[in-house]
Structure formats: C-alpha cells, structure tokens
C-alpha cells in the first residue's frame, strides 16, 4: 500500500512544478511506471484517482506509461525482457541477471493552463 503515499508525493510534486510554471490547473499528468519498480500500477492509479479531488489535478487526465523490465544475463550476456525479478535467462536459464530497465518511477510531464 505504499502506492497511497507515492500518489501523495506525485500530487505534491506536480502541484509544486505547476505553480513554479504559472499553471492554475493541471489537465494532464504523465507518469512512467516500470514493471520492476516495485510500484503496482493499478493500485497507484486507484490511489491517484482517490487523492486528486480538491487539488489542482482534479480534472487531470492521468497517463501511466509502462516501461518493460529488461535484464542482462550475467552468464551469456544477452538482454531479455524481464516480467519479474525472478525471471531466469530465456537463453541459458541462468539466474540472477542484472536488471537494466523497468525500475523507473518518474513524473514525465504535466500540462495545464
């Protein structure tokens, strides 16, 4: 359930940036959520929808942009898509692999008026 507090952080961050840039309302919010970021996208989205009432984001369209997990096998050095942290190399079946992508959790952009 850390998604609730992360959603609060995102709303604060977006509000702060909006004010800095002279926006009165935020109409659009884009967030990148990596498959291996430890953030459950559905729960995070639910939390955001719950918390944006009475904020500048009340009418914002929320876009969660998924970034797939990728790993580099430490044995055969091939890159592959990792759906979870326990995935072994599809090529040589060794484990663990170095996680390269999918750990992102970033506020990409906001738009507003």
């Amino acid at each position: 359930m850390h998604e609730l507090s992360l959603a609060t952080d995102v709303i604060n961050l977006a509000t702060e940036q909006a004010k800095k840039n002279g926006l009165v309302v935020i109409t659009e919010l884009r967030i990148e959520v990596g498959d291996l970021s430890g953030v459950e996208a559905d729960a995070f989205q639910w939390a955001l929808e719950l918390l944006i009432n009475d904020t500048m984001l009340n009418h914002a369209d929320i876009y969660l942009i998924r970034s797939p997990g990728t790993g580099i096998c430490q044995a055969c050095h091939r890159e592959f898509e990792m759906k979870n942290r326990l995935e072994s190399c599809p090529n040589c079946a060794s484990f663990p692999s170095e996680i390269r992508g999918g750990q992102e959790f970033r506020l990409l952009s906001i738009a507003g008026e």
Partner: protein
C-alpha cells in the same frame, strides 16, 4: 505528508516518546478528504497502464512526451473544446528522489556521528522486537543503543524497548505501511542519538513497501521466522534483494513446523547471492552471539 490541503492522510504520521500519552500531530486537521471520492463532475478520468504509451483520450493532441518546455497550443477544433493557454512542461523527475535525497542526508548524519544504523524489516510477528529486547539487554553495558520504532498504531513496542534499557521513539505511521526518510529525519531530531552508538530502526511489519524506501541506514536486515513459509524470499523478492543480512528466527520451533532452512536460504540466495544468514531463536538465545559478532564486524 499531504501539503495540498493540509490533511494528514495518507502521509500522516505521529512521532511520540513511548512514555507519553499519544499526541497526534495535526490532530485538528485530521479530517478525511477521501469521503467525496465519487463526487467529481464526470469530467476527469484516468487511463490505465494497458494503454501503454499510446494516448487515448478526448484530450488527445497527437504527440508524445519528451517535448521541450515551451507553451504551445493544440488543434482545439478536433476536440471541440479549447485550452486557451495550455502549457506542457516536461519534467522527468524521479518520484522517489525526494525520499532518496533525505535518506542521503540521514546517511551523512550517521556517518558523521559514526552511528551504525540498521533498518530491521520483516512481516508482522516474526520477532523483531524480541530480538531487539534481547540485544539491548546483552549489549547495553558495552554499547550505546537507540531505537526508532515504526508501527501503524500504539507506542507498545517503544515501551517494551525502553524497559530493556534503550532510549526509544515511536513513529506511528497511521494508515502508512512503511517508514520513510523524512520520518526518520524528524525522529532523529527528538531522539538525540549519541556518537558511536547503534541505532536500530524497527520498520513497520511488512515485506513489501519498506523495501522501496531508503532511510539512510548502514545495513538492511530482513527477519523471517520458521512459522512462515520457506518460499517467503520468492514471494517478496525486492525485500530480499535489497537486504544485507537475513535472520531466520524462532528456530526452536523447527521440530514442529514444515519450514526448510535449506530451501529458505537457497531461495534467498538465488535472489541475492551476497546475502548473509543467521539462524536464531531470540527465545532460547541460539544465534544471538553470532548476531553480536556480525554487528561488531560491520561497525
């Protein structure tokens, strides 16, 4: 903390000394702004991850993120509504960066004071508080020990710890499921940790969320008990991947449960080959000596 409307939830938390009656921070603001969650006017909506990077909405302006920080307008005629001065602001900010920044500040504070800080994490009921009680009783003559206790409610754990002889402070996270760097930062202001001491942070009992939040600790310790499944590491990989030591507690109960120490260690090692293990029974004292040696090795 929710700075938007001043409401405490869900970032609301309370820091209190165990001996005191509960004082809730921001109690006058303790209202709930989630009650009217469905009272929106039907205009806003969100888009799920399944839409991936494709924009699909009646606000579609036909471009992707990553554009420059400049105001520009969009084809209003296509949407049937207008955004007179719509601005798009590219940010690309790591959402956890604020926590990480505060964690680094805490880490600097610990290094400067030569404090060994251990973030103790586990499921509820695996025996973290008992391990700490025994540790304090054994080491209090030779070491200065301080404890930060995290729980959703009550000061019971901090009271237990203080009885063992170490100053403790309780953080009640309210609805929160983990401690974060800011809570530690604020608790440190009250706890007045001495130089060259050991600070134990007993995180909220939860194997998921605490793993994500760096507190500035020197080392992370995950505790599991033999009354849990030996596949715990596989179920909560993030926790085991980010820990330095795994204590397997309640080994005195091994004859009565199906827990395989070998399987649990193999599962955890698979995720984190560097992970160290101590088999322990805080009740009988097994493994405690090894634990004290581990503490002196890393301090």
């Amino acid at each position: 903390m929710c700075e938007t409307c001043g409401c405490g939830k869900p970032g609301e938390f309370t820091i209190r000394e165990s001996s005191e009656t509960a004082k809730r921070r921001n109690s006058e603001n303790d209202h709930n702004h989630h009650e009217h969650m469905h009272e929106h006017d039907g205009h806003w909506h969100s888009h799920g991850q399944e839409e991936s990077s494709e924009i699909k909405s009646d606000h579609h302006h036909g471009h992707e993120h990553g554009h420059d920080e400049h105001p520009h307008s969009h084809g209003d005629e296509a949407n049937g509504h207008s955004h007179p001065q719509k601005k798009e602001i590219a940010l690309n900010i790591d959402i956890l960066s604020e926590n990480n920044r505060l964690a680094e500040r805490n880490r600097g504070y610990f290094e400067g004071k030569e404090v060994l800080c251990l973030n103790m994490m586990s499921s509820p009921g695996s025996g973290k508080t008992s391990i700490l009680e025994k540790t304090i009783l054994a080491l209090r003559q030779t070491h200065k020990i301080f404890v930060i206790e995290g729980d959703q409610q009550t000061a019971r754990d901090a009271e237990r710890i203080e009885k063992s002889g170490a100053p403790a402070i309780q953080i009640n996270t309210g609805s929160g499921c983990h401690l974060d760097a800011n809570m530690i930062h604020l608790a440190l202001k009250k706890l007045e940790v001495e130089n060259r001491s050991i600070l134990f942070i007993e995180n909220v009992g939860n194997l998921v969320c605490p793993a994500l939040f760096d507190l500035g600790e020197t080392r992370r310790v995950v505790v599991i008990s033999v009354t849990e499944g030996d596949d715990k590491p596989l179920k909560y990989p993030y926790m085991f991947q980010t820990s330095h030591l795994c204590i397997i507690n309640k080994t005195d109960l091994l004859p009565y449960v199906d827990f395989s120490v070998e399987n649990a260690m193999a599962n955890a090692k698979q995720l984190n080959p560097e992970l160290e293990f101590i088999l322990m029974s805080a009740r009988t004292g097994e493994g405690m000596q090894e634990w004290y040696e581990w503490l002196s090795k890393i301090s």
